[in-house]
Amino acid sequence: MSNAPELNIDHIAKLARLALTPEEKATFAAQLGSVLHHIEQLAKVDVTGVEPTAHAFAVTNVWRDDVAEPGLPVAAALRNAPAQRENMIAVPKVVE
């Protein structure tokens, strides 16, 4: 971890589905470089045999009874859709 290479901003932005301008790339790479430098100190902690914590008070297997409950009406669910047609969300063509 102490040898973490430079953050490849193009690769990460692509994974994150974010279009960045050249200026943003330069700024973020520099700022995140100093943040990464800071977080690398975690490599100093001895975590041998330590279990990870995902939640402070883990609760597992939370089920409710399998009973149908009313969901959002279609009109309410579509209320915030940027484009809709015939009770469906419209998007640009997916397959040419």
Binding site: L36, H55, P82, I89
Partner: protein, 487 residues
Amino acid sequence: MSAELHFHSIAEAAAQLEAKTLSAVELTQAVIARTKAVEPRVRAFLSTDEATALAQAAASDARRAAGHARGPLDGIPVGLKDVIAVKNQPLTAGSRMLANFVSPYDSTAAAKLQQAGAVLWGRLNCDEFAMGSSNENSAFHPTGNPWDVSRVPGGSSGGSAAALAAGEALATLGSDTGGSIRQPAALCGVVGIKPTYGLVSRYGLIAYASSLDQIGPFARTVEDAAIVLRAIAGHDERDSTSFRTEIPDYRAELQTRRGPWKLGLPKEYFGEGLDPEIAAAVERAIAFYKAQGCEIREVSLPHTQYCLDTYYIIATAEASSNLARYDGVRYGHRAKNAKDIVDLYFQSRAEGFGAEVKRRIILGTYVLSSGYYDAFYLRAQKVRTLIRQDFLNAYKEVDALLTPTSPIPAFKLGEKSDPLAMYLCDIYTIGVNLAGLPAISVPCGFTRGNLPIGLQLIGQPFQEASLLALAHSYDRAHDWSSRHPKL
């Protein structure tokens, strides 16, 4: 007692409503008038809905006249941070991404407030998607600190703290992922509590970092915070991390739990970087507790120096996942002129998100990416275990911990341009989120420049009743909450 209605505590207003010397409509009108008078300078709100608030107030008065008043919150105007959903109201998260979003449903916290009879007044400004410590990351406008509007109110729930301090509501709700309730409470001179993880349902709270986020109240007094917390706490089937636990009458428990307490001072929280005036104010609070017969001892939380890094790995990782849903398809901002569906994702997110959100998404994506997961994310989760154990070990010796809330008082708008410098504002608050503990910030004085100072008390899991009683014993013996900013 405060002569001005808009500066009433909930307890004061509730007593007058009960005695019918005040109506909910009068109280709501006073708060609306105050909001109109000071909002041009404070800018705590993103939107307001006067007609709905007044209708809720009228309904409260009708209930009371019919003998069906619902308790101390009935008819009390409460403002909500704009990440907490209220049906048919805007829900922007301070982001351009959700600029036109109207919530189709109620969050559990908002539904519970309405069941308690509260009047919901306004949508409060915050850092975009609750990411920030100054409210400057709001896509719409910054909020001024009512004590000095050229300074920040803190963040990310800065609007919630500022509105309350300015008399634009009698209580507000915020959310706290790394200090986002406690730090603005400290900077604005009000009470703010971050409950134990799992005490308040997150259903209808816009997710930032799901394993850390909690909704909690801002109030003028600890007693008021107890009233609001009781109303919003409790198990909810709609949040699978919601905890099944009895919710006591926190307000009544303030009278029955009187200490003395054993208080721990984590030595790592009193070191370099702490403003001397804040250190002095916290020392006076320690002296107060000592005089009350509390045993004070130094404790150590040895992994404190790793809290900030652990937090920024875990929180950004969770954020990168949570914010993947904003893709321009089902709701939120959609870019025009996208070439195809994939380009639509890239362009909508580029246009909809601000700089800090993009930075955190990139960092979170990086720490989760192939080859780095073990080195960063998994390691951070293990360090999180050690951080949590530090606190639990301390609680073998003491009942609660006492620290400053923020290392510095309210700073100038625009003063902190470096992200890392901004992150350091949260050094005393983030450990609590990582460990899932309850903590409260209580006003404990002012700097020579008349800026509020906050005292943080950290309690044991689900022991909010004790924590509130401990905070109340300080709060009721001091008159900080009766001071109001001149606006």
